[in-house]
């Protein structure tokens, strides 16, 4: 998956317009990144990347880049 595809996947999950997210975007500044979005992220990582996301890992995510790194 390319960088653009990964970002598009996250934007789609958060129902954001295309181009809204940048790798350096801080998650705490995204209103849509709430508890439900975090649960969606867990499912998305499993379905799209085959990776299990733990609660501890979610706590450590600070920027979009952190999520992109996890998707690698």
């Amino acid at each position: 998956m390319t960088l653009e595809e990964k970002i598009a996947l996250l934007e789609d999950m958060l129902e954001l317009d295309g181009g809204s997210l940048k790798p350096e975007t801080e998650l705490c500044n995204i209103d849509e990144y709430d508890s439900m979005a975090k649960l969606s992220l867990i499912v998305l990582m499993d379905d799209e990347c085959g990776k299990k996301l733990t609660g501890e890992q979610i706590r450590e995510f600070k920027t979009v880049q952190d999520i992109l790194d996890f998707m690698d």
Binding site: E15, S35, M36, L39, S40, I42, T54, G55, I58
Partner: protein, 246 residues
Amino acid sequence: MDLNLLCKTYLITGAGSGIGRETSLVLAREGANVVIMDINPQGLAETASLGGDRCHPIVVDLTNETAVSEVVFQTVEKYGKLDGLVHCAGISSRKPLNVLSKNGFSKVMDVNFYSFVELVKQCAKKKHINDGASIVVMSSISSIKGYKAKTEYCVSKAAVDAFVRCMALELADRKIRINSVMAAEVLTPLALKAKEMNAAVGASDFNAPLGPSAPYEVANTIAFLLSDVTKTITGTSILIDGGACV
């Protein structure tokens, strides 16, 4: 109160941990023969070790209909007709609307609902179960309450309770009773894992005035429902929720 479970034979699913394990141990202490099933061989071996000679472990994937049929047949061949069934096996799910899918529903329904249907279908055959037997399934207050991101789980438990009510009527002629136990938060490994995840993402938990239940409380209620002291309780759901539904 004498539950009169001595030498009776029960099948228990999800016996490798939590409520299934606790129920197996309670029934074994009461002198029943318990055929304990789980997909996890390690957990099952631990339960068998704790339960002693009365516990007979069988590793089985309940989503495999052929395997379920064989286990029921083998159990009756070896230990005689069943006096009851306890279905504790289940999986949890936390998924908001935007990630719900038919596949996801199928996975949860296969374990939480369809496996129970298949078990009851096999166990309820006249050659497999005694008249007057009792069937108990673990449900949840999620069957009657709504929770954010728990659709798959809530639907599966609501299906279980609807099935219980229908079967209560179909099996009544043979005096076979069937009931569910609606729990809220029970201190099992599965629940503790869910609690940890809820805390990490900031999602809400059960909010029971009396707090969470211990597995032995649920197991004791299951033993009560299996026993002869409750010959007319059928087609219902017993709440053990610490007051969460009040």
